[in-house]
Protein backbone atom coordinates (compact mmCIF):
# COMPACT_ATOMS: atom_id res chain seq x y z
CA UNK A 1 0.00 0.00 0.00
CA UNK A 2 1.47 3.38 -0.89
CA UNK A 3 1.44 5.91 1.94
CA UNK A 4 -0.70 8.08 -0.33
CA UNK A 5 -3.35 5.36 -0.48
CA UNK A 6 -2.94 4.76 3.23
CA UNK A 7 -3.61 8.44 3.91
CA UNK A 8 -6.66 8.40 1.65
CA UNK A 9 -7.99 5.33 3.41
CA UNK A 10 -7.49 6.88 6.82
CA UNK A 11 -9.32 10.03 5.72
CA UNK A 12 -12.17 7.91 4.38
CA UNK A 13 -12.39 6.21 7.76
CA UNK A 14 -12.43 9.58 9.52
CA UNK A 15 -15.25 10.72 7.23
CA UNK A 16 -17.25 7.59 7.93
CA UNK A 17 -16.91 7.94 11.67
CA UNK A 18 -17.85 11.60 11.67
CA UNK A 19 -20.89 10.94 9.51
CA UNK A 20 -22.12 8.40 12.08
CA UNK A 21 -21.56 10.48 15.20
CA UNK A 22 -25.20 10.62 16.25
CA UNK A 23 -25.85 6.97 15.45
CA UNK A 24 -22.84 5.83 17.49
CA UNK A 25 -23.98 7.98 20.41
CA UNK A 26 -27.38 6.38 20.16
CA UNK A 27 -25.90 2.88 20.26
CA UNK A 28 -23.73 3.80 23.26
CA UNK A 29 -26.71 5.31 25.03
CA UNK A 30 -28.33 1.89 25.09
CA UNK A 31 -26.07 0.23 27.63
CA UNK A 32 -23.20 2.69 27.93
CA UNK A 33 -22.78 6.40 28.49
CA UNK A 34 -23.85 7.83 25.16
CA UNK A 35 -20.54 9.35 24.15
CA UNK A 36 -19.04 6.91 21.68
CA UNK A 37 -19.91 8.98 18.60
CA UNK A 38 -18.50 12.13 20.16
CA UNK A 39 -15.34 10.34 21.26
CA UNK A 40 -14.84 8.83 17.81
CA UNK A 41 -15.48 12.21 16.20
CA UNK A 42 -12.84 13.72 18.48
CA UNK A 43 -10.57 10.86 17.44
CA UNK A 44 -11.25 11.59 13.77
CA UNK A 45 -10.38 15.22 14.34
CA UNK A 46 -7.15 14.25 16.08
CA UNK A 47 -6.34 11.87 13.25
CA UNK A 48 -6.86 14.58 10.62
CA UNK A 49 -4.59 16.88 12.59
CA UNK A 50 -1.95 14.16 12.87
CA UNK A 51 -2.11 13.54 9.13
CA UNK A 52 -1.81 17.24 8.39
CA UNK A 53 1.13 17.55 10.78
CA UNK A 54 2.99 14.61 9.17
CA UNK A 55 3.08 15.11 5.42
CA UNK A 56 6.12 12.84 5.14
CA UNK A 57 7.00 9.52 6.72
CA UNK A 58 6.72 5.81 6.12
CA UNK A 59 3.62 3.71 6.66
CA UNK A 60 4.67 2.51 10.11
CA UNK A 61 5.58 6.05 11.13
CA UNK A 62 2.22 7.31 9.98
CA UNK A 63 0.39 4.52 11.78
CA UNK A 64 2.28 5.31 14.97
CA UNK A 65 1.09 8.90 14.68
CA UNK A 66 -2.47 7.70 14.11
CA UNK A 67 -2.15 5.42 17.12
CA UNK A 68 -1.16 8.38 19.29
CA UNK A 69 -4.00 10.47 17.88
CA UNK A 70 -6.54 7.75 18.59
CA UNK A 71 -5.11 7.24 22.06
CA UNK A 72 -5.34 10.94 22.84
CA UNK A 73 -9.11 10.76 23.17
CA UNK A 74 -8.85 8.46 26.16
CA UNK A 75 -11.96 6.66 27.33
CA UNK A 76 -12.12 2.93 26.71
CA UNK A 77 -11.80 3.25 22.97
CA UNK A 78 -8.62 5.35 22.95
CA UNK A 79 -6.24 2.79 24.44
CA UNK A 80 -7.94 0.00 22.45
CA UNK A 81 -7.11 1.68 19.14
CA UNK A 82 -3.75 2.96 20.33
CA UNK A 83 -2.57 -0.49 21.36
CA UNK A 84 -3.95 -2.14 18.23
CA UNK A 85 -2.39 0.41 15.90
CA UNK A 86 0.96 0.37 17.69
CA UNK A 87 1.02 -3.40 17.27
CA UNK A 88 0.30 -2.93 13.55
CA UNK A 89 3.07 -0.36 13.23
CA UNK A 90 5.45 -2.79 14.92
CA UNK A 91 4.42 -5.58 12.57
CA UNK A 92 4.98 -3.44 9.51
CA UNK A 93 8.33 -2.21 10.75
CA UNK A 94 10.05 -5.57 11.35
CA UNK A 95 10.93 -7.41 9.20
CA UNK A 96 10.77 -4.78 6.43
CA UNK A 97 8.07 -5.86 3.99
CA UNK A 98 9.38 -7.54 0.81
CA UNK A 99 6.50 -6.28 -1.28
CA UNK A 100 4.49 -3.05 -1.13
CA UNK A 101 1.59 -4.81 0.54
CA UNK A 102 -0.01 -8.21 0.51
CA UNK A 103 -2.67 -10.25 2.20
CA UNK A 104 -0.21 -12.04 4.47
CA UNK A 105 0.97 -8.73 5.80
CA UNK A 106 -2.59 -7.55 6.33
CA UNK A 107 -3.34 -10.74 8.23
CA UNK A 108 -0.26 -10.32 10.39
CA UNK A 109 -1.40 -6.78 11.18
CA UNK A 110 -4.90 -7.92 12.14
CA UNK A 111 -3.54 -10.69 14.33
CA UNK A 112 -1.13 -8.35 16.06
CA UNK A 113 -3.91 -5.84 16.70
CA UNK A 114 -6.20 -8.50 18.10
CA UNK A 115 -3.52 -9.76 20.45
CA UNK A 116 -2.66 -6.29 21.63
CA UNK A 117 -6.29 -5.34 22.23
CA UNK A 118 -7.14 -8.48 24.13
CA UNK A 119 -3.94 -7.98 26.08
CA UNK A 120 -4.82 -4.50 27.23
CA UNK A 121 -8.53 -4.93 27.75
CA UNK A 122 -8.65 -8.55 28.95
CA UNK A 123 -11.64 -9.17 26.72
CA UNK A 124 -12.22 -12.02 24.29
CA UNK A 125 -14.54 -12.55 21.33
CA UNK A 126 -18.08 -12.93 22.62
CA UNK A 127 -17.68 -10.27 25.31
CA UNK A 128 -19.47 -7.70 23.12
CA UNK A 129 -16.57 -5.42 22.27
CA UNK A 130 -14.49 -4.25 19.33
CA UNK A 131 -13.03 -7.74 19.29
CA UNK A 132 -16.29 -9.18 18.01
CA UNK A 133 -15.75 -7.21 14.82
CA UNK A 134 -11.97 -7.59 14.73
CA UNK A 135 -11.79 -11.33 15.30
CA UNK A 136 -13.93 -12.10 12.21
CA UNK A 137 -11.55 -9.86 10.24
CA UNK A 138 -8.67 -12.08 11.26
CA UNK A 139 -10.64 -15.17 10.24
CA UNK A 140 -11.65 -13.62 6.91
CA UNK A 141 -8.08 -12.62 6.10
CA UNK A 142 -6.85 -16.12 6.96
CA UNK A 143 -9.44 -17.51 4.59
CA UNK A 144 -8.52 -14.93 1.94
CA UNK A 145 -4.86 -15.84 2.23
CA UNK A 146 -5.43 -19.59 1.94
CA UNK A 147 -7.73 -19.11 -1.03
CA UNK A 148 -5.23 -16.73 -2.65
CA UNK A 149 -7.43 -13.63 -2.88
CA UNK A 150 -5.94 -10.33 -3.99
CA UNK A 151 -5.56 -7.51 -1.52
CA UNK A 152 -8.64 -5.54 -2.61
CA UNK A 153 -10.91 -8.56 -2.42
CA UNK A 154 -9.35 -9.57 0.88
CA UNK A 155 -10.05 -6.14 2.30
CA UNK A 156 -13.60 -6.34 1.03
CA UNK A 157 -14.08 -9.70 2.69
CA UNK A 158 -12.57 -8.34 5.89
CA UNK A 159 -14.95 -5.37 5.87
CA UNK A 160 -17.94 -7.64 5.34
CA UNK A 161 -16.77 -9.88 8.18
CA UNK A 162 -16.40 -6.86 10.48
CA UNK A 163 -19.90 -5.71 9.62
CA UNK A 164 -21.39 -9.13 10.29
CA UNK A 165 -19.38 -9.41 13.47
CA UNK A 166 -20.63 -6.06 14.68
CA UNK A 167 -24.20 -7.01 13.87
CA UNK A 168 -23.82 -10.27 15.76
CA UNK A 169 -23.12 -8.35 18.95
CA UNK A 170 -26.76 -7.30 19.20
CA UNK A 171 -27.60 -10.68 20.62
CA UNK A 172 -24.68 -10.74 23.04
CA UNK A 173 -24.52 -9.97 26.74
CA UNK A 174 -21.61 -7.62 27.51
CA UNK A 175 -18.77 -9.04 29.61
CA UNK A 176 -16.29 -6.19 29.25
CA UNK A 177 -16.45 -2.42 29.41
CA UNK A 178 -19.10 -0.12 30.78
CA UNK A 179 -22.02 -2.31 29.67
CA UNK A 180 -20.70 -5.41 31.41
CA UNK A 181 -22.63 -4.64 34.60
CA UNK A 182 -26.02 -4.82 32.93
CA UNK A 183 -26.34 -8.54 32.29
CA UNK A 184 -29.42 -9.31 30.22
CA UNK A 185 -30.18 -5.62 29.69
CA UNK A 186 -27.02 -5.20 27.64
CA UNK A 187 -28.64 -7.30 24.91
CA UNK A 188 -30.60 -5.76 22.03
CA UNK A 189 -28.36 -3.13 20.48
CA UNK A 190 -25.04 -3.79 18.72
CA UNK A 191 -21.87 -2.85 20.59
CA UNK A 192 -20.87 0.73 19.71
CA UNK A 193 -17.14 0.00 19.54
CA UNK A 194 -17.68 -3.00 17.27
CA UNK A 195 -20.00 -0.89 15.11
CA UNK A 196 -17.55 1.97 14.69
CA UNK A 197 -14.79 -0.49 13.90
CA UNK A 198 -16.97 -2.03 11.19
CA UNK A 199 -17.58 1.46 9.77
CA UNK A 200 -13.85 2.06 9.68
CA UNK A 201 -13.15 -1.27 7.99
CA UNK A 202 -15.87 -0.51 5.46
CA UNK A 203 -14.31 2.86 4.68
CA UNK A 204 -10.82 1.40 4.37
CA UNK A 205 -12.12 -1.13 1.85
CA UNK A 206 -13.93 1.35 -0.39
CA UNK A 207 -10.69 2.61 -1.93
CA UNK A 208 -8.94 0.07 -4.09
CA UNK A 209 -5.21 -0.10 -4.60
Amino acid sequence: MTTQLLRARILAAADAVEASRDELCRLDAGAGDGDHGVTMALAARAVRQALAASPEGSGPELITKIAMAMGSVGGAIGPIYASGLLAIAGTLRAPPPEQPSNVAELLACAEAAENAISGIGHAKPGDKTVLDALHPVVLALREAQSSGLGIDHALGAAAAAAREGAESTSAMIASAGRASRLGERSRGLPDPGASSFALIMGALATLSS
Binding site: V38, R178, R181, L182
Partner: protein, 334 residues
Protein backbone atom coordinates in the same frame (compact mmCIF):
# COMPACT_ATOMS: atom_id res chain seq x y z
CA UNK B 1 -39.34 15.51 29.81
CA UNK B 2 -39.11 14.95 26.15
CA UNK B 3 -35.96 14.04 24.31
CA UNK B 4 -35.28 17.51 22.92
CA UNK B 5 -31.63 18.45 23.16
CA UNK B 6 -30.74 20.12 26.44
CA UNK B 7 -29.91 23.79 26.42
CA UNK B 8 -26.36 24.40 27.43
CA UNK B 9 -24.34 27.51 28.13
CA UNK B 10 -21.34 26.41 26.12
CA UNK B 11 -19.51 27.43 22.96
CA UNK B 12 -18.21 24.77 20.54
CA UNK B 13 -19.07 21.45 22.23
CA UNK B 14 -15.61 20.14 21.39
CA UNK B 15 -14.04 23.04 23.31
CA UNK B 16 -16.25 22.68 26.37
CA UNK B 17 -13.84 20.69 28.51
CA UNK B 18 -10.83 22.89 27.89
CA UNK B 19 -12.79 26.09 28.36
CA UNK B 20 -14.33 24.90 31.60
CA UNK B 21 -10.96 23.88 33.02
CA UNK B 22 -9.50 27.20 31.90
CA UNK B 23 -12.33 28.96 33.74
CA UNK B 24 -11.78 26.84 36.81
CA UNK B 25 -8.07 27.53 37.03
CA UNK B 26 -8.58 31.24 36.38
CA UNK B 27 -11.28 31.46 39.05
CA UNK B 28 -9.32 29.53 41.66
CA UNK B 29 -5.74 30.50 40.97
CA UNK B 30 -5.18 30.84 44.70
CA UNK B 31 -5.68 27.08 45.08
CA UNK B 32 -4.73 25.46 41.76
CA UNK B 33 -2.58 25.90 38.68
CA UNK B 34 -2.11 24.25 35.31
CA UNK B 35 0.67 21.71 34.84
CA UNK B 36 -0.54 21.32 31.26
CA UNK B 37 -3.92 21.90 29.60
CA UNK B 38 -5.65 18.85 31.09
CA UNK B 39 -3.66 18.57 34.31
CA UNK B 40 -4.57 20.74 37.29
CA UNK B 41 -2.20 20.78 40.26
CA UNK B 42 -2.32 22.30 43.66
CA UNK B 43 -0.50 25.53 44.33
CA UNK B 44 2.24 25.29 46.91
CA UNK B 45 2.44 21.50 46.84
CA UNK B 46 3.66 19.81 50.00
CA UNK B 47 7.12 18.35 49.58
CA UNK B 48 8.30 15.09 51.11
CA UNK B 49 4.91 13.48 50.87
CA UNK B 50 3.28 10.79 48.82
CA UNK B 51 1.52 12.28 45.81
CA UNK B 52 -2.20 11.71 45.20
CA UNK B 53 -3.37 11.78 41.60
CA UNK B 54 -7.08 11.71 40.90
CA UNK B 55 -8.98 12.02 37.68
CA UNK B 56 -11.33 10.64 35.13
CA UNK B 57 -13.66 11.87 32.45
CA UNK B 58 -15.02 15.40 32.47
CA UNK B 59 -18.71 16.21 32.83
CA UNK B 60 -18.62 15.41 36.55
CA UNK B 61 -17.67 18.90 37.71
CA UNK B 62 -16.77 19.93 40.39
CA UNK B 63 -15.02 16.54 40.14
CA UNK B 64 -12.20 16.09 39.72
CA UNK B 65 -10.46 19.47 39.72
CA UNK B 66 -12.48 20.58 42.75
CA UNK B 67 -10.59 18.13 44.98
CA UNK B 68 -7.10 19.38 44.23
CA UNK B 69 -5.62 21.27 47.15
CA UNK B 70 -3.77 20.98 50.43
CA UNK B 71 -4.92 17.91 52.33
CA UNK B 72 -6.52 16.21 49.35
CA UNK B 73 -5.17 15.62 45.86
CA UNK B 74 -1.96 16.92 44.34
CA UNK B 75 -3.08 16.68 40.74
CA UNK B 76 -6.16 15.91 38.68
CA UNK B 77 -5.99 14.39 35.19
CA UNK B 78 -8.98 15.42 33.09
CA UNK B 79 -10.40 13.52 30.14
CA UNK B 80 -13.02 14.37 27.56
CA UNK B 81 -16.66 14.23 28.61
CA UNK B 82 -17.28 10.84 30.25
CA UNK B 83 -13.97 9.55 28.85
CA UNK B 84 -10.89 8.70 30.90
CA UNK B 85 -7.87 10.92 30.29
CA UNK B 86 -5.27 9.28 28.02
CA UNK B 87 -2.04 7.86 29.46
CA UNK B 88 0.12 10.88 28.63
CA UNK B 89 -2.19 13.18 30.59
CA UNK B 90 -2.24 10.84 33.57
CA UNK B 91 1.53 10.54 33.33
CA UNK B 92 1.91 14.31 33.46
CA UNK B 93 -0.27 14.35 36.57
CA UNK B 94 1.83 11.62 38.15
CA UNK B 95 5.02 13.54 37.47
CA UNK B 96 3.54 16.73 38.89
CA UNK B 97 2.43 14.90 42.03
CA UNK B 98 5.65 13.00 42.60
CA UNK B 99 7.98 14.25 45.31
CA UNK B 100 10.12 11.16 45.50
CA UNK B 101 7.94 9.16 47.86
CA UNK B 102 5.71 7.60 45.24
CA UNK B 103 2.26 8.34 43.90
CA UNK B 104 -1.17 6.87 44.58
CA UNK B 105 -3.68 7.09 41.74
CA UNK B 106 -7.33 7.09 42.89
CA UNK B 107 -10.08 6.80 40.32
CA UNK B 108 -13.46 5.24 39.70
CA UNK B 109 -13.48 1.69 38.39
CA UNK B 110 -14.30 2.01 34.67
CA UNK B 111 -12.75 0.05 31.81
CA UNK B 112 -11.37 3.18 30.18
CA UNK B 113 -9.82 4.53 33.37
CA UNK B 114 -8.35 1.16 34.24
CA UNK B 115 -6.59 0.96 30.86
CA UNK B 116 -5.41 4.57 30.67
CA UNK B 117 -4.28 4.94 34.28
CA UNK B 118 -2.69 1.50 34.04
CA UNK B 119 -0.67 2.48 30.98
CA UNK B 120 0.36 5.71 32.66
CA UNK B 121 1.55 3.81 35.71
CA UNK B 122 3.71 1.62 33.47
CA UNK B 123 5.19 4.68 31.80
CA UNK B 124 5.83 6.28 35.19
CA UNK B 125 7.46 3.11 36.50
CA UNK B 126 9.74 3.15 33.48
CA UNK B 127 10.81 6.61 34.62
CA UNK B 128 11.47 5.37 38.13
CA UNK B 129 8.32 6.62 39.88
CA UNK B 130 6.64 4.14 42.17
CA UNK B 131 2.91 4.16 41.50
CA UNK B 132 0.08 2.35 43.28
CA UNK B 133 -3.61 2.65 42.56
CA UNK B 134 -7.01 2.42 44.19
CA UNK B 135 -10.06 1.84 42.02
CA UNK B 136 -13.14 3.14 43.78
CA UNK B 137 -16.01 0.63 43.71
CA UNK B 138 -18.78 2.07 45.84
CA UNK B 139 -21.83 1.68 43.58
CA UNK B 140 -23.73 -1.28 45.03
CA UNK B 141 -26.19 -1.16 42.12
CA UNK B 142 -23.48 -1.96 39.59
CA UNK B 143 -22.62 -5.53 40.58
CA UNK B 144 -23.69 -8.06 43.21
CA UNK B 145 -21.72 -8.40 46.42
CA UNK B 146 -19.77 -11.43 45.18
CA UNK B 147 -18.47 -9.24 42.35
CA UNK B 148 -17.87 -6.18 44.53
CA UNK B 149 -14.49 -5.56 42.90
CA UNK B 150 -16.26 -5.03 39.57
CA UNK B 151 -18.45 -2.25 40.87
CA UNK B 152 -18.35 1.29 39.49
CA UNK B 153 -17.04 4.23 41.43
CA UNK B 154 -19.47 7.10 42.02
CA UNK B 155 -19.69 9.64 44.84
CA UNK B 156 -17.67 7.37 47.13
CA UNK B 157 -14.72 8.79 45.19
CA UNK B 158 -14.87 11.86 47.38
CA UNK B 159 -14.53 9.94 50.64
CA UNK B 160 -11.63 7.91 49.29
CA UNK B 161 -9.88 11.01 47.92
CA UNK B 162 -10.31 12.82 51.22
CA UNK B 163 -9.03 10.02 53.43
CA UNK B 164 -6.10 9.13 51.16
CA UNK B 165 -5.21 12.79 50.70
CA UNK B 166 -5.20 13.39 54.45
CA UNK B 167 -3.02 10.33 55.04
CA UNK B 168 -0.57 11.55 52.39
CA UNK B 169 -0.55 15.05 53.85
CA UNK B 170 0.36 13.62 57.23
CA UNK B 171 3.45 12.02 55.76
CA UNK B 172 2.43 8.36 55.64
CA UNK B 173 4.29 6.01 53.32
CA UNK B 174 2.89 5.01 49.94
CA UNK B 175 1.95 1.59 51.32
CA UNK B 176 0.10 3.20 54.22
CA UNK B 177 -1.67 5.78 52.07
CA UNK B 178 -2.74 2.92 49.84
CA UNK B 179 -3.95 0.97 52.87
CA UNK B 180 -6.08 3.94 54.03
CA UNK B 181 -7.50 4.33 50.54
CA UNK B 182 -8.39 0.64 50.37
CA UNK B 183 -9.94 0.82 53.80
CA UNK B 184 -11.99 3.91 52.91
CA UNK B 185 -13.18 2.26 49.73
CA UNK B 186 -14.16 -0.95 51.53
CA UNK B 187 -16.06 1.07 54.10
CA UNK B 188 -18.00 3.06 51.48
CA UNK B 189 -21.15 2.16 49.58
CA UNK B 190 -23.41 4.25 47.37
CA UNK B 191 -26.53 4.02 45.29
CA UNK B 192 -28.18 6.60 43.09
CA UNK B 193 -31.42 7.51 41.42
CA UNK B 194 -31.94 9.37 38.16
CA UNK B 195 -34.98 11.52 37.45
CA UNK B 196 -33.99 12.81 34.05
CA UNK B 197 -31.17 12.42 31.58
CA UNK B 198 -28.07 14.36 30.67
CA UNK B 199 -26.61 15.02 27.27
CA UNK B 200 -22.98 14.69 26.20
CA UNK B 201 -22.12 17.99 24.45
CA UNK B 202 -22.09 17.26 20.74
CA UNK B 203 -24.15 14.08 21.01
CA UNK B 204 -27.27 15.98 19.96
CA UNK B 205 -29.57 14.00 22.21
CA UNK B 206 -29.92 13.00 25.86
CA UNK B 207 -28.11 9.80 26.83
CA UNK B 208 -31.34 8.12 27.80
CA UNK B 209 -35.00 8.82 28.18
CA UNK B 210 -37.21 8.52 31.18
CA UNK B 211 -40.96 8.85 30.83
CA UNK B 212 -42.88 11.59 32.61
CA UNK B 213 -43.19 10.49 36.21
CA UNK B 214 -40.61 7.74 35.83
CA UNK B 215 -37.33 7.35 37.71
CA UNK B 216 -34.45 4.89 37.51
CA UNK B 217 -32.89 3.44 40.63
CA UNK B 218 -29.23 2.49 40.51
CA UNK B 219 -28.33 4.48 37.43
CA UNK B 220 -24.64 5.18 36.94
CA UNK B 221 -23.06 8.58 37.06
CA UNK B 222 -22.67 8.60 33.26
CA UNK B 223 -26.25 7.53 32.61
CA UNK B 224 -25.48 3.84 32.50
CA UNK B 225 -28.75 1.97 33.05
CA UNK B 226 -29.60 1.07 36.63
CA UNK B 227 -31.41 -1.81 38.24
CA UNK B 228 -35.02 -0.71 38.42
CA UNK B 229 -37.24 1.67 36.55
CA UNK B 230 -40.42 2.71 38.24
CA UNK B 231 -42.80 5.50 39.07
CA UNK B 232 -41.65 8.68 40.78
CA UNK B 233 -42.03 8.18 44.52
CA UNK B 234 -41.87 10.39 47.58
CA UNK B 235 -38.32 11.28 48.59
CA UNK B 236 -38.58 9.30 51.80
CA UNK B 237 -39.39 6.12 49.89
CA UNK B 238 -36.54 6.68 47.47
CA UNK B 239 -34.20 7.32 50.40
CA UNK B 240 -35.31 4.11 52.04
CA UNK B 241 -34.77 2.06 48.87
CA UNK B 242 -31.24 3.41 48.50
CA UNK B 243 -30.33 3.09 52.18
CA UNK B 244 -31.79 -0.39 52.52
CA UNK B 245 -29.78 -1.60 49.52
CA UNK B 246 -26.65 -0.12 51.06
CA UNK B 247 -27.29 -1.56 54.51
CA UNK B 248 -28.09 -4.98 53.06
CA UNK B 249 -24.66 -4.99 51.47
CA UNK B 250 -22.82 -4.47 54.76
CA UNK B 251 -21.81 -7.52 56.78
CA UNK B 252 -20.13 -5.87 59.73
CA UNK B 253 -21.31 -2.44 60.81
CA UNK B 254 -18.46 -1.95 63.26
CA UNK B 255 -19.57 0.49 65.90
CA UNK B 256 -22.40 1.71 63.70
CA UNK B 257 -21.12 5.24 63.10
CA UNK B 258 -21.29 6.45 59.52
CA UNK B 259 -20.68 9.43 57.30
CA UNK B 260 -23.65 10.21 55.05
CA UNK B 261 -23.08 11.99 51.77
CA UNK B 262 -25.95 13.02 49.52
CA UNK B 263 -24.72 13.96 46.07
CA UNK B 264 -26.82 15.95 43.61
CA UNK B 265 -26.32 14.78 40.04
CA UNK B 266 -26.74 18.22 38.51
CA UNK B 267 -30.29 19.44 37.98
CA UNK B 268 -31.86 18.43 41.26
CA UNK B 269 -32.43 21.36 43.60
CA UNK B 270 -30.68 21.69 46.95
CA UNK B 271 -34.19 21.73 48.42
CA UNK B 272 -34.68 18.18 47.18
CA UNK B 273 -31.17 17.13 48.19
CA UNK B 274 -31.77 18.15 51.78
CA UNK B 275 -35.15 16.42 51.82
CA UNK B 276 -33.48 13.26 50.51
CA UNK B 277 -30.73 13.66 53.11
CA UNK B 278 -33.35 13.87 55.83
CA UNK B 279 -35.05 10.72 54.56
CA UNK B 280 -31.77 8.84 54.21
CA UNK B 281 -30.69 9.83 57.69
CA UNK B 282 -33.98 8.64 59.13
CA UNK B 283 -33.75 5.37 57.22
CA UNK B 284 -30.21 4.84 58.49
CA UNK B 285 -31.14 5.59 62.05
CA UNK B 286 -34.16 3.32 61.77
CA UNK B 287 -31.64 0.69 60.65
CA UNK B 288 -29.63 1.21 63.82
CA UNK B 289 -26.86 3.26 62.26
CA UNK B 290 -25.75 6.61 63.63
CA UNK B 291 -24.86 9.48 61.30
CA UNK B 292 -21.86 11.38 62.68
CA UNK B 293 -20.67 13.27 59.61
CA UNK B 294 -22.76 14.71 56.77
CA UNK B 295 -22.15 16.16 53.34
CA UNK B 296 -24.89 17.44 51.04
CA UNK B 297 -24.44 19.05 47.63
CA UNK B 298 -23.08 18.49 44.17
CA UNK B 299 -19.81 16.62 44.54
CA UNK B 300 -19.64 14.52 41.39
CA UNK B 301 -22.28 15.33 38.85
CA UNK B 302 -23.48 13.91 35.56
CA UNK B 303 -23.67 17.16 33.63
CA UNK B 304 -27.27 18.31 34.04
CA UNK B 305 -28.82 14.99 35.00
CA UNK B 306 -31.59 15.22 37.61
CA UNK B 307 -31.24 12.84 40.50
CA UNK B 308 -29.01 12.13 43.44
CA UNK B 309 -27.04 9.44 45.15
CA UNK B 310 -26.60 8.40 48.74
CA UNK B 311 -23.19 7.34 50.06
CA UNK B 312 -22.59 5.73 53.42
CA UNK B 313 -19.13 5.19 54.94
CA UNK B 314 -18.60 3.11 58.04
CA UNK B 315 -16.29 5.04 60.31
CA UNK B 316 -13.77 4.00 62.89
CA UNK B 317 -11.44 6.43 64.63
CA UNK B 318 -8.80 6.13 61.95
CA UNK B 319 -11.06 6.93 58.99
CA UNK B 320 -12.84 9.63 60.95
CA UNK B 321 -9.58 11.37 61.73
CA UNK B 322 -8.61 11.41 58.05
CA UNK B 323 -12.07 12.56 57.03
CA UNK B 324 -11.91 15.42 59.54
CA UNK B 325 -8.32 16.45 58.79
CA UNK B 326 -7.78 19.92 57.31
CA UNK B 327 -8.26 20.28 53.57
CA UNK B 328 -8.52 23.27 51.30
CA UNK B 329 -9.55 22.27 47.82
CA UNK B 330 -12.11 24.34 45.94
CA UNK B 331 -14.99 21.94 46.57
CA UNK B 332 -14.01 20.39 49.86
CA UNK B 333 -12.68 22.30 52.81
CA UNK B 334 -12.30 20.98 56.32
Amino acid sequence: MNATAYKKLINDPFDAVDEAIEGFVAAHSDVVAFAEPRVVVRRGPGSDKVGLVIGGGSGHEPAFVGYVGAGIADAAACGNIFASPPPNVVLAAIKAADHGRGVLMAYGNYAGDVMNFGLAAQLAAAEGIEVREIRVTDDVASAPKRDAAKRRGIAGDIIVFKCAGAAAEQGLSLADVERIAVKANSATRSMGVALSACEVPGAGRPTFELGDGEIEIGMGVHGEPGIMRGPLRPADEVAKILVDAILADIDDRGRGDVALLVNGLGATAYLDQYILYRGARRALEAGGVHVVRSFVGEFITSLEMAGASVTVTLLDDELLSYLDAPASSVRFTA
